[in-house]
Symmetry: C2
Subunit: 547 residues, 2 copies
């Protein structure tokens, strides 16, 4: 370890979870990326499909990127890979299942044959530029997840992505404690650790508790069981499949991403479902209801998901009805509590029984809680600590915990996305800020929709709009026709019957008052007229032509 | 109790909590209302100030309304009184503090001298039409809250509004268990009970736990302490004031509603703050920081509240800065998790320390949890059960609990707002549905903004708008000027530089193609042009005039 070596860590993204979707390691002229995921839009980001990290910082340095390491196969860690590969066609390192899920994604975007994918097994070591990366197994809610031990010229860094210390995981493969202890003996200069559950006391329950809860539901449900989850929650698929075997039900996956991911996980041996248990969805819909389990997406209340469409009665292939039992088997991503709650109410209204985590343990978190986070810090005994994967409030809490465990305050840094952190000369400190915003993906547009546009949308939605079109005779300055008035999101058509003639009258008074050359005069007059009438402030647009 | 007597219960409101904001009791030609509160808009109901129950059902029956009984002084129980009184000037029955808070509200709307307010003490009985109403004390997060024992010709109904079984409440006055037992002995035909926390196991902690938590914060805070809460959380004001006395800090209330409510509660003897502890806000701002506690609104992350403005640096009277400790002392109303989380992150970003319920017990729920809900049912032993105050998911859970306690399933009814329930001939059953929607209040408009308008607003916000104005020469069918194109919430001004000329070009091609008489043809063409270019779908408006 060289004394003057300077390692730079650059968490990229917006105001969401720090360093979760993408973290750059930079040493001299070498960059290694860890993860390339997407964020889901919050409830009030209308129109947005998804959000990717702002990697403008990397755009003039793509020739320095030596590779991308992916820690596991969830969307928030792999969902932006096809965007990044467009700018930087570099090797991607991942364990077999993670690689398989990346392949599913890339082939959907027609980019599979352009990608340089390299399989790494947990326990292996790979040299990526100046970074010697040791992959070690961690438990999470997907198999084949890894943490990273990164030996750099500035010291040894342990990068814990999403993890929990589950002693009885679904695949029987606990977190590699021995490797963590070994790093500790070597001396860890910097630990990065998952802060998601830093506000949650105790120890996250093992995935094992879900099995009996599912069994209880499957055995007592009078008809079909419909499980809502994420398409990449492979461990949950396994538990559902196992419970189908025990309770003599057939399992069908619904939805492209769920079907594709399950197929890939089965092919690679990470998901074991007997051939006679797995049936296609159209076959399942023709079986007696009490013999069927359907597994689909929509656990976040997304209106366009299968569960979302079932709850509003707009799903094409099948409906939900009395006798069905819907199980929401995943956690609300922060900000989704409200749409999820609406979905639960709607499903009840359609006569279904709905089971969710407040009723039975059909979900557990995939992230370490406070006692596990503390155990990790004491296992690794790092010199410096950088909390990642969480919003500022969780990072602050995680940092406070590290201080309580004896890590000196000056060795702990809390940084948000876009804030460069440097490890150099035995010190961890804040360096400069780089662009670290949201890149909104909407339709075919990547980054074309910015925060300014989002603010305009909110303004449109707060008050609605009033459009006025006016043609004026250039000789007489009189209206050539009745002013045309269109409103949206402002008044009902009944109220429009009274208000629109009044608006027209007001405009005619103005025009007849004479000397009217300016659209802005009309905008202002209509605005204040509408405010007086309704005490509301729609956006007003006037187009005026003279002929 | 007459055998053919028919009591009708009509919960009024939208898809929110059932019967919380207003419940009508109807017997023959007599109506009694319980509570008249408002709802806060959800995060995606843009522009809405607040929501009141849809009482269209009552409008042609106002002469039958014998009175309004108010159970306690929180906004969701008193906030719509001034609207109701406008339609039905009937007597209002309330305990002294509740009446005081209603007076504060009515005088703000200039309606105090028009209202017929009647004070009732807990323990008293009042005859309201055919309803003999016994008021009895319950614990909640505000003093002077009551439950109701309502003797009707169809039987005895116990109406539990918001309550908890706190054994050590702030005012030392526990729930009146003896009265509940007495009702039980008389025989309760129907129990209505608060379902808010039906998904929460165990027993809600006593308000008492907050005192030591606040003391710990006040003693260790290096500078000012800023407490965020609701303006009507009078019990919390008392706890903050008590802790100020112990820790030698001065207390100032900020914000009109907080100041007015505190003044009224002090005047009536429900809030005890020594004169030398309470100081005006401008005086507090000039004292040494470590001697000051400010209490204000904004615990729900509302952008226009004091805490909301502090978090964005837009508060006029004072700022938040390093050294300040902000305490969020209230629960997130469902749907507010996201704005609250953003507010916490912003306050941290400004350098403040932020304390909230995940960090220290600075808040407890004011509502009974499952064990208390069960105790109530077993204390009262009602023949029939109607869960209220909760969304459908909580009502379903509460009903399941009542079944587990031995109430026959056929004696339990789950009804949403607008669903009439009848108690008659010893049976509880569903009757007809009446209008039960949301009435949105926005600016000066009450009910003018409806769900159709809300849907239009969402559509505006999802894709933004493109406005096109076109004048065509009526003889040559050629454009008289360049088509005017305005966009909002769709593209940035940089992108507009490329796209708008392309839109103009597309329109000119269409017009020159000839025979163009219809705005709709242009709308469709521009829509599909924009979809091809951007894969997005803004709302397109065209105004065309011929001259």
């Amino acid at each position: 370890m060289s004394k003057n070596a300077k390692l730079r860590l650059v968490p990229l993204g917006g105001l969401g979870e720090v360093g979760k979707n993408m973290m750059a390691y930079e040493y001299g002229n070498n960059i290694m990326l860890v993860d390339a995921g997407l964020m889901f839009p919050e409830n009030d980001m209308l129109g947005i499909d998804y959000i990717i990290p702002d990697y403008e910082y990397l755009l003039d340095k793509t020739d320095r990127i030596r590779g991308i390491v992916i820690t596991h196969g969830h969307e928030d860690h792999i969902g932006a890979i096809h965007h990044i590969l467009g700018s930087a066609p570099v090797p991607i390192f991942a364990t077999p299942l993670t690689r398989g899920l990346i392949e599913v994604k890339l082939s959907r975007h027609g980019m599979l044959n352009k990608a340089d994918l390299r399989t790494v097994q947990a326990g292996e070591k790979v040299q990526i530029g100046p970074f010697a990366v040791e992959f070690f197994h961690v438990c999470h809610s997907i198999p084949d997840a890894v943490g990273l031990g990164i030996t750099t010229p500035a010291g040894l860094v342990v990068h814990m992505s999403d993890f929990k210390f589950d002693h009885t995981p679904v695949d029987g493969w606990p977190t590699d404690y021995a490797k963590l202890a070994e790093f500790s003996q070597r001396g860890v200069d910097l630990l990065l650790s998952d802060s998601t559950n830093a506000e949650r006391p105790g120890w996250t329950p093992s995935e094992m508790v879900i099995g009996p809860a599912l069994r209880d539901v499957f055995e007592h449900a009078p008809g079909r069981v419909i499980i809502a989850s994420f398409a990449s929650l492979i461990s949950r698929m396994q538990q559902v499949a196992d419970t189908c075997v025990i309770t003599n039900r057939k399992l069908a996956f619904a939805g492209t991403s769920m079907v594709d991911n399950a197929k890939m996980a089965r092919k690679l041996g990470y998901l074991s479902v007997p051939d006679d248990v797995l049936v296609p969805i159209d076959q399942a819909l023709n079986l007696p209801a009490e013999e069927v389990v359907l597994m689909c997406t929509g656990s976040q209340g997304e209106p366009s998901s299968i569960i979302g469409r079932l709850s509003t009665g707009t799903n094409r292939q099948f409906d939900v009805h009395a006798g069905d039992t819907v199980v929401l088997s995943s956690h609300p991503i922060p900000g989704n509590e409200e749409p999820i709650s609406r979905t639960i109410n709607r499903l009840f209204r359609r006569g279904a029984e709905v089971i969710y985590d407040a009723i039975a343990p059909v979900h557990v978190s995939g992230h370490a809680s406070q006692e596990e986070q503390k155990l990790l810090i004491n296992l690794v005994r790092p010199k410096h600590f950088l909390p990642i994967h969480g919003e500022l409030r969780q990072l602050k809490r995680h940092a406070a915990m590290a201080r309580e465990l004896g890590i000196p305050a000056e060795n702990i840094v809390v940084a948000e996305n876009g804030q460069v952190v440097e490890l150099s000369g035995g010190e961890l400190k804040l360096a400069e800020r780089v662009p670290g915003g949201y890149v909104f993906v909407e339709g075919g547009s990547i980054g074309d929709v910015d925060l300014g546009i989002m603010r305009e949308r909110e303004k449109l939605a707060r008050g609605g709009i009033v459009l006025i079109d006016l043609s004026i005779d250039k000789f007489t300055n009189r209206p050539l026709h009745e002013p045309e008035v269109i409103t949206r999101g402002f008044i009902t058509s009944e109220d429009a019957g009274d208000l629109i003639p009044a608006i027209r009258q007001r405009i005619k008074e103005l025009v007849n008052g004479g000397g009217l050359d300016d659209e802005k005069v009309i905008v202002d007059a209509v605005r204040s007229f509408l405010y007086n009438e309704t005490k509301r402030r729609p956006m007003v647009f006037v187009t005026m032509s003279k002929a």
